[in-house]
């Protein structure tokens, strides 16, 4: 009974977070704001759903399944990388270098400067 309550709560939580994430993607007005919904809320929603699946197979059916935990770890690692790449693509396409604050180092914003490693390779 307690297992069912916990699994149901996780499922409802996951569904709500998934819905909120996609609604944020649809409704927010700025591309940088729109990155927040899918990369945070949807990740938590899918994570709660997968943990509910792990608990269901362990507590109700008595099977130990590890694949869901692997998927959770993979999603939690990859979603910040996705967000970083899309933010860089947005900066590259929609903003000018003069719009951005200074970096405070000798090198400018990497999105506009090109690949420094490449330049070194050409000198060698």
């Amino acid at each position: 009974m307690i297992a069912e309550i916990v699994i149901s709560a996780l499922l409802v939580l996951g569904g709500l977070f998934g819905l909120v994430g996609s609604f944020g993607l649809l409704k927010l007005n700025d591309p940088m704001k729109r990155l927040h919904g899918p990369t945070k809320a949807t990740t938590v929603g899918v994570g709660a759903t997968l943990v509910a699946s792990v608990l269901y197979f362990k507590l109700v059916q008595g099977l130990v399944t590890w694949q869901e935990l692997l998927i959770v770890v993979f999603l939690f690692i990859t979603s910040p990388v996705t967000a970083l790449f899309l933010a860089k693509a947005h900066l590259h396409r929609n903003m000018k270098p003069s719009d951005l604050p200074p970096t405070g180092t000798a090198r400018g914003w990497a999105t506009f400067d090109g690949d420094p490693g490449d330049r070194d390779a050409r000198h060698l």
Partner: protein, 89 residues
């Protein structure tokens, strides 16, 4: 009780998938469309896992794993293309 929670979660992720499809079709810029496609992949992973819960079988988890990997790789490839105009330089 768990059946109702399961149906609720499936409905939520289904509506989320429809919203993502709307963004893919009508978004103003290319990064938004790529982000919406990536979110569609994540929501589909959730739907696959929920289908596994509904039928009580664990055969679909490898499919969900493959979806996670190919979704991430395709999003990175799209972003690389938007940044550099090329994927493998």
């Amino acid at each position: 009780m768990m059946t109702y929670a399961l149906l609720f979660a499936i409905g939520c992720f289904g509506i989320a998938l429809l919203m993502n499809l709307w963004v893919v079709l009508r978004a103003p810029g290319l990064p938004d469309k790529v982000l919406a496609a990536d979110t569609m992949v994540i929501n589909i992973i959730a739907l696959i896992v929920l289908h596994g819960l509904l039928t009580g079988s664990g055969v679909n988890f490898e499919a969900a794993m493959l979806f996670a990997m190919t979704g991430f790789v395709s999003t990175v490839a799209f972003s690389k293309f938007m940044l550099r105009g090329n994927i493998i330089e």
